[in-house]
Amino acid sequence: MNNIISGLRARLAPVADRVGTALEPVGRVLGMKSVKYPLRTVGVLLIYALPILHLPLINTENSDFSGVLFTVGTYVLVALGLNIVIGYAGLLDLGYVGFYAVGAYTVGVVTSEHGQWPFFLALPLALVVTMASGVLLGAPTLRVRGDYLAIVTMGFGEIIRIVARNTDWLGGAGGINSIPSPPDIGPEEGLFQIPHLSWQYGYPTIDDRVTKVLHFGVLDATPYFWMILTTIILVICADMLIKNSRVGRAWEATREDEDVAELMGVPTFKFKLLAFAMGACIGGLAGAMYATRVGFINPPSFPLMLSLLFVAAVVIGGAGNRWGAILGAVIVAYLPERFREFADWRLLVFGIALIVIVSFRTQGLFPGRQKKRVAQAEKEVQKLEEGAEIV
């Protein structure tokens, strides 16, 4: 595990330095100063260690904590993808669950329903298929007006679900089961084993539970969590690299003022489609991992509600800021698991929270520094121009 981290660091550091020197101001916003590296490494290690530490307060008592962490991981991955679509490119996609489903179904079909592909071979296929579905949906619909896009994409999410339900080749209403876990890497008992901690009266003791590294069993979700966490880190790196480039700027410009972006030479349609495809691809990735973890998918696994939850995660976190989107996803996925006893009230509280949050923090809970400045400026403008009561 340390190897992965240090390997990542080795890979990231020169990139970050380059970004840092080339685009120093942006680097500062991201907090990528080299002094922060040790701290960051510790932070990432801590997150990797979460499922074996079983920290009190954070731990979910009523459900398997590593399973919860995996769920949170899928939400985070989805939020990262959706943040590209909504936050960067400004396209409101209410049918994101469709891509999630396409990813999951692709894996289901080739590993179980109609083939015995190993997961790591099915994964790239899932990416290609979801990316293609993103282009397929985007090409005709990205020309429609923004608010229509929301409804059209919502329709897409529903169409995917209904098609899956009515198509026997996709398992029909029964869905696809016995989707295999990813193949184990290394020997039967895992590369090595890591013991878990348990907490008695506030003191940690070593448990007899162990996690076999790179051994994807049914009971222990920890390796899945590590898989998705690693994926998340890779996606974040890719996200940073792309955001700090012409592509990121083109997205931002398109979001801010599409006409002007076009007049400044940005082929906006192409970039919107690119954002859609990239977002779809990441959504599909999350779906694929979900499928291999739960082993069973059916149409009701992908309700429209999930799309709305995804969007809510990004928006309440602060669209456009990847860390905000991640935190939003953690909140949306984790809190209901942590407070299961209030499960019935979940959606009600969630609805109230949505209204309250957007009413009082239009930029989301964790807007980026830039957004905060914009909000401040807008507020001043508002103060000066208010009173006109123009609708």
Binding site: D147, A150, G155, V315, D344, L354, I390
Partner: protein, 329 residues
């Protein structure tokens, strides 16, 4: 296909019936969109609350058993009033809490949409958790039957038995179906006249066309927005009553699918255009019936979405274009 041809009259008539309900709900979307250029995602719940008003009032009045349409007319008239009050009231609440502040701040559209989605969750969950809420307030005993099993289907206490009155093709049209279609047409006509002829209607159109110029004329846009939500709510209340006459049952989650279809109907006809909402609703109702006749009923719900995508691609402004609001390229 054979099924479609053999049952053409029936599919068309029942399609029109369903389409009438879509059309009335679609009006709410179209009105709000025309004035604010926003999709009122919570409008479907406004309708859902209306259906419950119908159930509750009939329960309160002690209606029971089976009745003909004429026999239940008195009850239904009271239920209609209740539904209109309920939906209108809920619509005003939505405007007040999910919209007003954000609209004043000129918040980005997607933020307002999120707020409306939040309102939609709140409204359907309050209905779905009404037993717990009543318990929390200590009213469980008093409200009893009204709050039990909130997540199950609630049925109308009186079963309305439709009677055939008119033969078209090989289909006997029932009196309830006739009532629904005619009521929807009347409501549309009344609303159309209201918007066209009255000073309130003119204000709504003026704000839709040019809010700044309208306020220079002395239009109070807050009032206009409120009025717009209210009218949409009233129409949803009528739709809810008609829906209950036809379907006889409702649930805390009936709003969503119906709302999406009604919105589709509004876009289909040209959102912002009242007559477009009617046209779109009727077309959608019929199209759904035909599609399920040809492809099987499991494909019914896809029809709306496919139709929506096709219309937006071919004719983004909808069949009749946008006339309540500004014409846009």
């Amino acid at each position: 296909m054979e099924f479609l041809i053999g049952n053409f009259a029936e599919l068309t008539i029942t399609g029109l019936v369903l389409g009438s309900v879509y059309a009335l709900v679609a009006l709410g979307y179209t009105l709000v969109y025309g004035v604010l250029q926003l999709i009122n995602f919570a409008h479907s719940e406004v309708f859902m609350w209306g259906t419950y008003a119908v159930v509750w009032v009939l329960t309160l009045l002690g209606a029971s058993g089976t009745s003909s349409l004429a026999g239940a007319a008195g009850y239904l008239a009271i239920a209609l009033v209740a539904a209109v009050l309920m939906s209108g009231g809920v619509a005003l609440i939505v405007e007040r809490f999910a919209y007003r502040r954000l609209v004043r701040q000129n918040a980005p559209k997607y933020i307002i949409l999120i707020s409306a989605i939040g309102a939609s969750f709140v409204l359907s969950e309050i209905m779905g958790l009404r037993d717990k809420i009543a318990g929390f307030l200590g009213l469980q005993g008093v409200l009893g039957d009204y709050v039990n099993n909130p997540r199950n289907t609630s049925t109308l206490p009186v079963e309305i038995k439709p009677e055939p009155v008119l033969q078209i093709g090989n289909y006997m049209v029932r009196d309830t179906e006739l009532l629904i279609i005619i009521s929807a047409l009347i409501m549309m006509f009344v609303l159309d006249q209201f918007i066209r002829r009255t000073s309130f209607g003119r204000q709504i159109r003026a704000v839709a066309q040019d809010p700044e110029a309208a306020s220079l004329m002395g239009a109070n846009s807050t009032n206009v927005v409120r009025l717009t939500f209210l009218i949409g709510g009233v129409m949803a209340g009528v739709a809810a009553t008609l829906y209950m006459i036809k379907v006889g049952a409702t649930g805390f989650n009936v709003g969503f699918v119906l709302g999406v279809k009604a919105f589709t109907a509004a876009v289909l006809g040209g959102i912002g255009n009242l007559r477009g909402a009617l046209l779109g609703g009727l077309i959608l109702g019929i199209a759904e019936n035909y599609a399920s006749g040809i492809l099987g009923s499991e494909w019914r719900d896809v029809t709306a979405f496919v139709l929506l995508v096709l219309v937006l691609l071919v004719r983004p402004s909808g069949l009749l274009g946008e006339s309540l609001g500004r014409a846009r390229a």
